[in-house]
Subunit: 329 residues, 2 copies
DNA sequence: GTGAAAGCGCTAACAG
DNA sequence: CTGTTAGCGCTTTCAC
C-alpha cells in the first residue's frame, strides 16, 4: 500500500505537491499535476484518511444515538441524516443504546476520544446530564425528542398540537369516549401528547377520565396489544383510541380484531408516526405524519454547522394528520 | 483538550510512561501509575483515537453493507454483529447502499482509504467483481447472501433445504397446488429457494407448473400484494403459497383478506425470515427462522479474525421451520 | 509554482 | 522501571 512519500518520489516532486494535487489546489502546473496523477495511478495509491484526519483534527464521523434500530420510526430520519452527511463528506455511525447507560457511554467515549465529530441524539432515554456536559466541548444536536433545559439545539415537531389534532379528528367524527394509550411520562413527548389529548377534550367540554388513560413501558407492538386488552375489559368501553405511536396502535388493532370487534365501526383508532407498516395493516391506520426525512437532513446540517463553529437555532417543523381507514368507515 | 505530552509534563514523567499506563502495561510502578492517573484526572485527559489509530494503522471500524435499513430482516443480524464487534473494541458503520453503485463506492472507498478495517457484505446486489478485487487487499466476509466464486468467506444457511422443508410442510398438510412467490433469480438465494421448492414437489411426484411461479422485483410488502393479486386471478387457483420473504408473504396475506378469502382455510401461506412483524399479522405467519443473531456474531468474529490475518472458513448454520396460524386452521 | 520541514497525538523499539 | 526518539501519513506554513 503506497503512501504519499512514494507517490512523491515516483512523480519526482515533493509530498507537498502531491498533497496539493490530492486536494485540488489550483496552484499546481498542469504538467506537474499530470506527473502526479500518473504516479498515483501507477502505484494504485489511495490517500489514508487516518493521516489526513489526524492532521486535520477531525474524524468526519457523526454519531446518531437511537434506542432501537428495530423501531421503524427512525428509518426515514436516519436516511435524511445520511443523505445530508454524505453530501458533505461525513459518515454516520448508527448507535443503538438499547437504553443501556453502558452502551451509551461507549458511544459518548467515541466523541470524547475524537473518533466522532458530533452527535445527533434521538434517544428519549439518553442521560441528559451527561449529554449536556458533553455539549460544552462537543457539537451536539437533539432530534425529535429533546430537553429544553439542556440548552442543546433541537429539531422536532409540535407534539402537543399534533396530538390535539388527532383527538379533535376523533371528536369531529362523533366520538366522546376516547382512550389514550400513552408511554411513560418521563418522556417529554409522552407528556406533550397527553397535553394535546386533554386540550382537545376540554375544548369540547368532554371530561377527561383518568381511567381512560393507559400507560405502557415500551413502544413495542405487544404493549399496544396489552393495553388494548385492558381497554376492552373496562366497564365503560371507549369507542375510540388514540395511541402515541403506530406500533402501539397496530397492537391495539390486532387485539380489537381478535376480540371480534371491527375498526372503525366498533372502535376507531389513531396512531402517531406514519411508519411504513401503518399502511399494511387491515384496516390501514389513521396517523400523524412527521416530516421525517426533512427532520433528518436539517439535524445533520445543524450538526455540521455546529462542528464548524456556527451558532445554531432550534427548529420546529410541521406535521400532518393522515386520515385512513381506521377512522373512516 | 489536553494531549499526552501535557499529561506527561503534569505527571513529571515521559510520554512513553503515560502511554504505558493508558494501555494497562504492568511494567509501571504503582507510584508512577498513580502520578499519571492523577494527572489524567486533573487535566480531564482523553486519549485521541485519531493519533492511536494512525500509529497502529487501524481504524477499528467495521463496515456493514446492506441494501435497505428498512428491511427488518437485517435487524437481528446487525445486532449480533454489533455485540461481537463492541466486545472486541470495534465499532460498526452501517452502510445502506440502496443498491446504488455510487453509494456502494463511497463505502468501498472508506476501506480503501483505511477509514474502515473490513467489510461484512449482506447486499445481494453488491458489485461482486469490485468486492472480489477489494478482498485481495482487505478483510471481507459475506453474510447471508454470498457468491461462491468470489472466494470470499461467508456465513449463511442452507436456503435450498430450508425452502424444501417449508414446501414439504405444505404438502404434508394436504396441498398440491402450491404457488411460489420468488424474487429475481439474479440473486443466489432466489435460485436456491426455488430449487428447494422444486425438490419438495418433485419428490412427491407433483408436477412443477411454471405458471405457479411468480417473480417480484423487490422484497417489499407491496410486491407481495401484487403477486398475490395475480395468483388470485389465475384459472386454477392455488391452495397454498410459499413466499421467499416474510414481507412478501405479509403482502400476500393482506391481499387474500381483501379478496374475502381466509388464511389458512382457503389458502395457506408460508414466509421466510421470521421477522418481528410476522407475529403481528392476522393470522400469524408460518415461516423459516434463521439464527440471525448468531449469524451476525459469527460474521463479526470471522471478520475480526481475518483482519488479524487468520485464515477463515465459511460456515453454514441451521434453520428452523416455525409453524403458526397461516398453515394450521 | 514548488520544496523543506514542522507537527497533528500516539506507540514501540531501544537504551539505560 | 523509565526516558529518548523515530515514525505512522498527511497538511500547511514559510522560503525560495
Amino acid at each position: 500500500m503506497a503512501n504519499i512519500q512514494q507517490v512523491a518520489k515516483q512523480a519526482g516532486v515533493s509530498v507537498a505537491t502531491v498533497s496539493r494535487v490530492l486536494n485540488g489546489q489550483s496552484t499546481v502546473t498542469a504538467k506537474t499535476r499530470i506527473k502526479v496523477e500518473d504516479a498515483i495511478k501507477k502505484l494504485n495509491y489511495e490517500p489514508s484518511l487516518l493521516g489526513r484526519n489526524l492532521r486535520n483534527s477531525e474524524s468526519r464521523i457523526l454519531l446518531i444515538l437511537i434506542p432501537k434500530i428495530a423501531n421503524p420510526f427512525y428509518l426515514d430520519i436516519i436516511n435524511g441524516i445520511e443523505t445530508a452527511a454524505l453530501s458533505q463528506n461525513y459518515n454516520i455511525l448508527l448507535c443503538e443504546t438499547d437504553s443501556n447507560p453502558e452502551r451509551e457511554n461507549i458511544y459518548f467515549d467515541l466523541v470524547r476520544k475524537k473518533m466522532a465529530d458530533g452527535i445527533i441524539s434521538m434517544d428519549p432515554a439518553v442521560n441528559i446530564d451527561t449529554l449536556t456536559e458533553l455539549a460544552e466541548r462537543h457539537a451536539i444536536i437533539q432530534c425529535s425528542e429533546y430537553s429544553e433545559d439542556s440548552g442543546i439545539p433541537y429539531v422536532t415537531i409540535d407534539n402537543e398540537e399534533a396530538a390535539y389534532r388527532a383527538v379533535k379528528h376523533l371528536i369531529k367524527i362523533g366520538h366522546e369516549n376516547i382512550a389514550l394509550i400513552n408511554t411513560d411520562e418521563k418522556y417529554l413527548y409522552a407528556r406533550q401528547r397527553k397535553a394535546g389529548y386533554r386540550k382537545a377534550l376540554e375544548e369540547q367540554n368532554i371530561p377527561v377520565n383518568e381511567d381512560n388513560i393507559y400507560y405502557t413501558q415500551h413502544l413495542g407492538f405487544e404493549y399496544g396489544q396489552h393495553a388494548m386488552k385492558k381497554i376492552l375489559g373496562s366497564k365503560n368501553r371507549p369507542t375510540a383510541v388514540f395511541a402515541v405511536s403506530d406500533l402501539l396502535a397496530i397492537g391495539a388493532l390486532k387485539e380489537i380484531n381478535s376480540y371480534g370487534l371491527s375498526v372503525p365501526e366498533d372502535i376507531a383508532v389513531v396512531g402517531f408516526d406514519k411508519i411504513d407498516f401503518s399502511n399494511m395493516t387491515n384496516p390501514t391506520l389513521t396517523t400523524i405524519a412527521q416530516p421525517m426525512h426533512r427532520m433528518g437532513t436539517i439535524a445533520a446540517e445543524m450538526l455540521i454547522d455546529k462542528i464548524k463553529g456556527a451558532d445554531v437555532e432550534s427548529i420546529i417543523l410541521d406535521h400532518e394528520l393522515v386520515i385512513r381507514e381506521s377512522t373512516s368507515g
